[in-house]
């Protein structure tokens, strides 16, 4: 059976994360990160994944207060986690727009040294002036420039990582490009992985192309099995023109899992989690994100508004916008009318993000089907609870995957590259 890869996402600052549950603990105390990372390592996961925040979300001109708020700086936190884990990969999301190649390449190489070869970098880009208000750079890159900067950023980082010979001699580097004009000597010898693992997140055409040319892992959204297979085939087909093989890029959708004693039990749990995720206040907020209007006077248990969305609204800041608000609104109205649903019920049904729900055997079988039929190479699990949200999966599903030969029972190597089955990067002296 084909081996899958598994990663754990620390619960994020959005409504997937349930903080009202009595088992929910701190989103910032180190013990929470340690618990989740140790759980992932106990489950022999490939890596632990941290998202990034550079500006607190705002809604209607005020700081968004309904979801978890506040998180650590990723690389610092992962260096600390390297002290309490031995094999687990450590992936930091770091923005290519609001950082500079020399400093970030140095920080990533440092993490790779200190963790003995477990570092990964999830490259994201951003261009909005809203985030830019916290930085010297400000925000002025248009969408196309975001990707050219990110691509040049990654290429430059690789030049820096290659500037030391594998036997430890430093040589001067010089990079001259559209976005960066830098030269000198890099301060860190070649790290255990050669280059930290590079992850790319995003489903756009530019994002797919960038991943095909430069990334080791693509963090994608989960769709249906069929959508997953189409995405998988599309991305893998792009590799050849960059001289890469299909196995050189791992496709890992972000997924949620609800495990119960039986399938029915799991469905019940899942429904309860959805109710926790979509509080009455969050339901109105989700509606406002689509409508782009202040709808605070609407009753979450009442019907949807008659007014149409405002497509040009800037009500929401610091969050990806709804692509086609008019179409989404029409869909939600149709659903509400067909089933007689309130605002909250409509939001619960429309924004369902639970991917795999069932008994341990059901969940294991579905995950295996995704991998066997080439809809994914593995999964990035997004738990809804801090810090215990991974416990059920690791205790009950992982042993089945291992029994079926679909997932490792022990780490074979010590680096993240070896977990992912990725080749050593060729040293380009």
């Amino acid at each position: 059976m084909k081996q899958m890869h598994l990663a754990a996402h620390f619960p994020g600052v959005n409504s997937t994360t349930v903080w009202t549950d009595p088992r929910s603990r701190s989103q910032i105390d180190f013990t929470s990160f340690e618990h989740l990372a140790r759980t992932a390592e106990r489950g022999k996961f490939d890596f632990f994944f941290l998202a990034e925040g550079l500006r607190l979300r705002e809604h209607n001109g005020r700081i968004h207060d309904l979801d978890v708020v506040g998180r650590p700086e990723s690389l610092t936190l992962l260096n600390a986690l390297a002290a309490v884990t031995d094999r687990l990969g450590l992936a930091a999301t770091v923005n290519a727009t609001f950082n500079e190649p020399y400093e970030l390449a140095r920080r990533l190489a440092t993490l790779d040294h200190l963790s003995a070869g477990r570092a990964a970098w999830n490259v994201v880009t951003s261009s909005d002036a809203f985030t830019g208000e916290n930085f010297r750079r400000g925000g002025y890159l248009d969408r196309a420039d975001r990707y050219t900067r990110a691509a040049e950023f990654v290429a430059t980082a690789r030049e820096l990582w290659d500037s030391w010979t594998p036997d430890g001699a430093s040589r001067p580097f010089a990079h001259s490009g559209r976005h960066f004009e830098i030269s000198g000597e890099f301060g860190v010898p070649r790290s255990p992985q050669g280059h930290p693992v590079v992850i790319q997140a995003g489903d756009s055409d530019e994002g797919r192309e960038f991943a095909a040319s430069a990334a080791d892992v693509i963090f994608t959204r989960h769709g249906t099995l069929e959508a997953g297979r189409t995405f998988y085939a599309d991305v893998k087909a792009r590799l050849e023109k960059y001289g890469r093989r299909p196995a050189d890029l791992k496709i890992m959708p972000g997924v949620t899992v609800v495990v119960g004693d039986t399938d029915a039990d799991a469905q019940e749990k899942a429904a309860e989690i959805r109710r926790q995720q979509v509080s009455p206040q969050n339901a109105v907020l989700a509606l406002e994100q689509v409508w782009g209007r202040d709808l605070s006077s609407y009753d979450p248990d009442g019907p949807l508004p008659d007014v149409d969305p405002d497509p040009g609204s800037d009500l929401v800041q610091g969050r990806v916008r709804v692509a086609d608000p008019l179409a989404v609104a029409a869909k939600w109205r149709a659903l509400s009318e067909a089933k007689g649903l309130s605002i909250r019920q409509t939001v619960i049904e429309s924004t369902a993000r639970q991917s795999f729900i069932g008994s341990p055997a059901t969940v294991a079988a579905e995950l295996e089907t995704f991998v066997d039929t080439e809809a994914a190479d593995g999964f990035i699990l997004v738990p809804h609870l801090t810090p215990g949200g991974l416990d059920d999966f690791v205790d009950r599903v992982v042993p089945l995957l291992q029994e079926h030969g679909a997932f490792r029972s022990e780490y074979a190597g010590s680096t993240l590259r070896s977990h992912l089955g990725l080749a050593e990067p060729v040293w380009k002296g």
Binding site: W19, T20, I28, D29, F30, E34, G53, L54, R55, L56, R62, I63, D65, L66, D67, V68, V69, G70, R71, P72, E73, L75, T76, L77, N79, A80, A82, A83, V84, F98, N99, E100, Y102, E103, R106, R107, A109, T110, L111, H113, L114, S115, A116, E133, N134, F135, R136, S170, F180, E181, I182, S183, G184, E185, G187, V188, P189, P280, Q281, N282
Partner: protein, 358 residues
């Protein structure tokens, strides 16, 4: 005469560049065994070496009490990132973080970033002071009780207790609030080497601990007096400033007689004053210099950390402890507690109570 101020001791654990975790952990644990206030780890883009803040984040879970103070430069970095990283170091160490602010003054460093040319020290230190100021405001931008988890209203935070900092510096601006909740110490400890002219003013204004390189107790006293006067002029309590003499030490000849000339004090050499002799002689020097009460302690940079730090801890510190001049254990858990510095009140929360909240 007994010292008027408790003695504080810190040690640098850098040296020839090392990239593994184990050697740094061993040195930090050694210093922790001597109950030192903190270890520093120097950093510069101008020479090889790992990212110092990352190294001390790796050291944090492997130690329990000792303060962790990496050098972080402010010239080619983003003040918002610096503030977030130091706050995170404070979270992962449960309140033991500090940072030593420094600048990057060479053309070679400027070329690594390609964003701006090298600038004069005065401008760089002005910017460093602004980065420290902006960072401290970001640490205050969340009030301590901002997280409310109020299920009845669905609110995770009380957003009236999060604040924009709207900092406008000469070379950057920051809107805020911080992405990281207020760290355990409120504000991690800011350290600045205040010996040079351009660094003196930002040190007096923004530092909790100032390192000074002095050639005699009198010289150290005059530097400390000057710093405290300047701090007072900025409206600070001069007693909230800790002044540590920076000394480079070579204990390689520990078994031989002390160098001639020791009694006249350490010799000036390079970046710091230079002491060469045995651990007992170093203890005598610490006692002499501290006796007058002008300085709060010493920041020792061993020439060879692997050799000299052990001699400092088991020789010099042990003797000071034996004479009841230095702590034998940590009564507190945070770096601020080791230094006898209170947890700072939140400037924005204070604004609330005085009724002038914007």
């Amino acid at each position: 005469m007994s010292p008027t101020r408790p003695l504080h001791l810190a040690a640098e654990i850098g040296g020839p560049p090392r990239y593994d975790a184990g050697s740094h952990v061993a040195l930090a644990r050694l210093a922790e065994g001597g109950a030192l206030d903190y270890v520093t780890l120097n950093d510069s883009f101008a020479r090889p070496g790992p990212d110092a803040l990352a190294v001390l984040a790796r050291v944090a879970p492997a130690t329990t009490r000792i303060g962790l103070v990496p050098t972080v430069t402010t010239t080619h970095t983003e003040p918002f990132h610096v503030s977030s990283a130091v706050a995170t170091l404070d979270w992962v160490s449960k309140g033991r973080a500090g940072w030593q602010a420094d600048v990057s003054s060479t053309e070679a460093e400027a070329r690594l970033f390609g964003r701006r040319p090298a600038a004069p020290a005065a401008a760089l230190w002005r910017e460093a002071g602004e980065a420290a100021d902006a960072g401290a405001r970001l640490w205050d931008s969340w009030e301590d009780d901002a997280e409310i988890r109020d299920a009845a209203t669905g609110r995770f935070i009380d957003r009236d207790k999060l604040h924009y900092v709207d900092f406008e510096g000469s070379t950057f601006s920051v809107r805020g609030p911080a992405i990281v909740p207020r760290p355990p110490q409120g504000r991690p400890v800011t350290v600045i080497d205040g010996t040079s002219g351009p660094a003196r003013e930002p040190a007096a204004r923004h530092a909790d601990v100032v390192h000074v390189r002095a050639t005699s107790p009198e010289h150290a006293a005059s530097l400390a007096d000057d710093l405290r006067r300047r701090a007072a002029a900025h409206g600070r309590d001069p007693d909230s400033l800790r002044v540590l003499v920076a000394l480079t030490v070579d204990l390689g000849d520990a078994e031989t007689a002390p160098e001639p000339g020791l009694e006249s004090g350490p010799q000036l050499a390079g970046r710091g004053t230079y002491f060469r002799g045995g651990p007992v002689d170093l203890a005598e020097l610490v006692i002499q210099w501290h006796r007058g009460g002008a300085v709060d302690g010493f920041h020792l940079t061993p020439i060879t950390p692997e050799r000299d730090l052990e001699r400092i801890v088991n020789g010099t510190v042990a003797l000071l402890q034996h004479r009841s001049l230095f702590r034998t254990f940590y009564p507190g858990g945070t770096l601020r507690e080791h230094l006898g510095l209170g947890r700072p009140a939140n400037r924005y929360a204070l604004a609330d109570t005085s009724g002038d909240r914007s």
